[in-house]
């Protein structure tokens, strides 16, 4: 009997009799005879105990952020998550439920989605939000497609300081369309990163301008006037946030005039998990709601007049609209959205502000202590990330830091070849002063 099944031999016999079949094999008569019951060359099955041991061994071959101090960011951040968050995501009536197709017995999911949407709107300063998309990267891709639908234009302008992973994923999303994507130039001038003017790239065919705030290198841009200028040219402004803890202190995408805002939800209490599952936050101005992809929960009343929640505006979605849908997205990341909602409830306004304040202060402390052979290229103001110019290739520095048991940042040379010596370092409230001092010391040694 395979694992996790519950039929006794007698059950099987009786069931076959009821069906009128002589054997289970008979049930597969429609399968082409020549291909039926192939040999599978798989390793022998493990019991639960053996599987647990095997996976522990695999996990043991990885260095987790619990093992070594982590200064890697670049779109995923090692913030603290209160213990309650993972326990609440682990409630079986959340994680073993599915899409709330039957609203009457899915009120927990639907209300949590509604709460998540409300918090997304508050955090991003936008009117309406969906119940999440896969992650921050796919959110950028979906936002790009959404802007194209709204403006009926095809061209996109990316800030060069938009996370290169997001840029790559967004390019995949629109790769089957004749879309021209142009990016502003990022270069080092007088010891600091400089970016060419975005507005020079905008023309009458531009659907959207996509910027990251704070940007990939940690810099906080002054976006004053950008939205107005973009709107004057008939395009939309998309503002994307990599580490939404920054919104504990910083002006929201909505306040900067964004038409669509996205964020990676991972920093809001979700484990890193080598890249997922996370959740993408996606919100927009009210007038664009019918172009927003993904699931949306809405408040309504039941037959007896009680408050309840349903999936709504489904005429946007693939199961109704098929080829005319706003997206092919079918799942949402609701379980992760529940985790984010729990995180934001536990942190509250004071907690999120404190996380932002501490994350920034740790980065500022590092900047003030950076060894002389290195140079901080990210111009002020910055949030919790900095690009450091190293005296040798950044990949080499990283290897030396690994030798000192430090997850010491992200070399950016693969995406920015002219920044081969650039090492991107991120700081959170979890990085203690002692860890940062260790990093400074190890960087000094690496340069020696």
């Amino acid at each position: 009997m395979p694992a996790f099944t519950q039929l006794s031999p007698a059950d099987r016999e009786e069931m076959l009799r009821t069906i009128g079949a002589g054997s289970v094999e008979e049930l597969f008569g429609d399968v082409p005879a020549g291909a039926r019951f192939p040999r599978l060359d798989l390793p022998p099955e493990l019991t639960e105990m053996e599987a647990g041991r095997h996976l522990a061994q695999i996990a043991g071959d990885n260095v987790s952020v619990k093992d070594w101090p982590c200064f890697i960011g670049g779109g995923a951040y090692n913030h603290y998550s209160p213990a309650a968050v993972s326990h609440l995501m682990g409630l079986p009536q959340f994680y073993t439920a599915y899409t709330p197709y039957q609203a009457e017995i899915s009120q927990g999911t639907l209300q949590a989605m509604f709460e998540f949407q409300s918090l997304s709107c508050e955090l991003l300063g936008m009117d309406v939000a969906n119940g999440s998309v896969y992650d921050g990267a796919s959110a950028v891709g979906e936002a790009l497609l959404m802007a194209q639908r709204i403006t009926q234009r095809e061209r996109a302008v990316f800030a060069g300081s938009l996370n290169p992973h997001w840029q790559a994923v967004a390019r995949t999303y629109v790769s089957a369309r004749e879309v021209e994507i142009v990016s502003s130039e990022v270069a080092v001038e007088a010891g600091q990163l400089r970016e060419s003017r975005l507005l020079d790239l905008v023309d009458g065919h531009t659907a959207c301008v996509v910027v990251q705030q704070p940007d990939f290198f940690g810099h906080i841009h002054d976006l004053d006037g950008l939205a107005e200028a973009v709107h004057e040219r008939g395009a939309l402004l998309i503002v994307c946030v990599a580490d939404p803890t920054s919104l504990g202190l910083l002006k929201t995408p909505g306040a900067w005039g964004a038409d669509i805002a996205t964020a990676e939800g991972q920093p809001l209490g979700l484990p890193l998990q080598y890249g997922g599952p996370w959740a993408g936050l996606m919100a927009c101005r009210g007038e664009h709601i019918r172009q927003l992809p993904g699931r949306i929960a809405g408040q309504t009343t039941d037959h007896d007049g009680r408050r309840g929640f349903v999936l709504t505006l489904q005429a946007r979605e693939q199961h109704i609209r098929r080829e005319k849908a706003t997206s092919n997205i079918c799942t949402s990341q609701t379980l992760l959205a529940i985790g984010i909602t729990a995180y934001l409830s536990l942190l509250g306004p004071s907690g999120l502000r404190e996380v932002a304040r501490q994350s920034h202060a740790k980065a500022a402390y590092f900047a003030s202590r950076a060894p002389g052979a290195y140079q901080v290229l990210t111009p002020p103001p910055f949030y919790n990330e900095l690009l450091l110019a190293c005296p040798l290739p950044a990949t080499e520095v990283r290897s030396r830091l690994v030798g000192r048991q430090l997850l010491g940042g992200l070399p950016v040379g693969r995406d920015y070849p002219e920044l081969e010596h650039g090492l991107l370092l991120a700081f959170t409230e979890q990085n203690t002063k002692a860890e940062i001092d260790r990093l400074v010391e190890a960087l000094e040694e690496a340069a020696a």
Binding site: F4, L42, G75, Q102, R307, A325
Partner: protein, 513 residues
């Protein structure tokens, strides 16, 4: 045949349970028996907030304070203590139906048991807390898991290569169709714009084709529940990109002329995309690659037992034949000569990136599940899923209409059209009445081609006793439809809320507090 006494509909809720809730209004305080957890309304987080209450502790800042500009004016997050946050979400979870609490025969969704060991391994620090941009030398275990899982999935399906990057089935479809597109373009074959999709297909198929810049043509289903081969052939010309095919199809039937179908598409120069939604029926039974599929996506959250998480996360790896391998998403995980694993970004013909390394936390669960089965276990698993479905079908075929009367695979379709004709009872009413018996309704009104359809998938997880109970309840509901149809049209009666006003929700959307 019925092992247990028939369950009776759930307990009546207290009469005043719903009174007084609404925009911040005080809740009614009615006594509630413990068995009715989840029936009480739960306030919104915003309604639980009290200024100054904190649900967290953070250490004192150990470095000098540093000021940030642009401080936002206000941040209206709820202010709630940890216990009340925990209770809030616990109460919400109690207002959900879930696999762990009852039978969930939601067709096409494969709501099988989610083994607890999966959750334990996914929480190991070396799985849960590794950074996607960590240096390869510090994540050798993760890269090995990805490398090995790709090979396991390829072996099970008969393909030669895989990518685990797609984050869900729909993204797997997107990756697959982009690869097919890239294949045609690489051969200079630029005229192909037409994607054929059976009319029984999931909505994601045509939506995906549209995202790839193609238009779709629906192929009808014949009277035996197969793709109408004549109609298919009449659409096959040199503009055909390919066919998107789910097999077994969404009627739970195995295409009886599958090899003729895939041959015909190939003869026209098209490729065959396999939607792996129904892979649970054929593990160790047949390899899709050996039936003419060129690419297949796999729903790890269906076939390989990872939790559905109230609607996500999924995971949608793609497996491909040799001819599509160069186009797989990049980076690929490779094993170097020295035995070390590494990420290979040098994939010039790749369709690009979809994610870092897929939903790794989900993939680790799926890997665990496959390793716990082995070849024989996987085959027995599919056999049991098909046995359970055929058994249930046999128990119900005289109660409801059977639109396609032949042996099914892991799921089957019934129709309530006779009930509708005789008593004005729709499938929706049957579904809502099932809720009163504490059973999750099957998928309803899908596939679209079945009038008043119910798509029922019991999975291999369920015991005979559960199947017998379900059949008995369905029989009882059919009886109720004749005797007291209003009982069904006003159902559910015992759920946390009654039928909800979806029309007003869409007309006057309230999407946030």
């Amino acid at each position: 045949m019925i092992a247990d006494p028939l369950p009776s509909p759930g307990p009546a809720r207290t009469a005043s349970a719903g009174d007084g809730q609404g925009e911040g209004a005080p809740l009614a305080h009615s006594p509630v028996p413990p068995a009715e957890a989840g029936t009480q309304p739960e306030p919104l987080l915003s309604e639980l907030s009290s200024p100054g209450v904190k649900g967290h502790q953070l250490p004192v800042l150990d470095v000098p304070e540093a000021e940030l500009p642009d401080t936002r004016f206000e941040l209206k997050l709820p202010e709630i203590g940890e216990l009340d946050v925990v209770r809030h979400f616990t109460h919400l979870s109690q207002r959900n139906y879930a696999i762990d609490s009852g039978f969930y025969p939601l067709g096409s969704c494969t709501m099988k048991y989610n083994p607890k060991i999966n959750e334990d391994v996914a929480r190991l620090p070396g799985i849960a807390h590794i950074h996607p941009l960590a240096p390869d030398e510090t994540v050798q275990g993760a890269l090995q898991l990805i490398y090995d899982l790709e090979r396991l999935l390829a072996e099970v399906t008969g393909f030669t290569a895989a990518s685990l990057q797609p984050l869900a089935g729909a993204q797997g479809e997107f990756a697959g169709m982009l690869m097919i597109r890239a294949y045609h373009l690489a051969r200079g074959d630029t005229r192909r714009r037409k994607v054929l999709v059976p009319d029984s297909a999931h909505g994601t198929n045509p939506a995906t084709a549209a995202m790839c810049g193609f238009h779709t043509v629906a192929i009808p289903t014949d009277s035996h529940g197969n793709v109408d081969l004549d109609r298919l052939e009449s659409e096959l010309d040199d503009t055909v990109v390919g066919l998107m095919l789910t097999n077994p199809n969404t009627l739970g039937l195995f295409e009886q002329r599958l090899l003729d179908v895939t041959d015909a598409v190939h003869r026209a120069g098209g490729l065959v995309y396999g939607d792996g939604a129904n892979l649970n029926a054929i593990l160790g039974i047949v390899k899709p690659a050996e039936m003419g599929f060129d690419v297949l996506h796999i729903n790890v959250h269906k076939t390989f037992s990872t939790p559905h998480g109230t609607g996500g996360p999924g995971a949608g790896p793609v497996v491909v034949s040799d001819k599509l391998e160069p186009f797989l998403p990049a980076p690929a995980v490779v094993r170097r000569m020295d035995g070390a694993y590494a990420l290979d970004f040098d994939r010039p013909r790749s369709i690009g990136r979809l994610s870092y390394h897929g939903h790794f936390g989900i993939l680790a669960r799926g890997y665990t599940y496959i390793r716990m089965h082995g070849a024989e276990g996987l085959r027995q698993l599919s056999e049991t899923a098909v046995l359970n479905a055929n058994y249930l079908r046999s128990l119900l075929r005289d109660v409801f209409d059977v639109p396609f009367d032949r042996g099914c695979m892991h799921e089957f379709v019934l129709s309530a059209r006779s009930l509708k004709a005789a008593h004005g009872i729709r499938t929706l009413d049957v579904a809502k009445r099932l809720i009163d018996y504490n059973i999750h309704p099957p998928t309803i009104y899908f596939p679209l081609i079945v009038d008043e359809g119910l798509l029922i998938e019991p999975t291999e997880s369920e015991s005979k006793r559960t199947l017998d109970t379900f059949a008995a309840v369905m029989r009882q509901i059919a009886g109720e439809a004749a005797e007291d149809p209003e009982l069904l049209t006003t159902a559910p009666h015992y759920s946390p809320v009654r039928r909800l006003d979806e029309v007003t929700a869409a007309r006057k959307p309230i999407l946030r507090w």
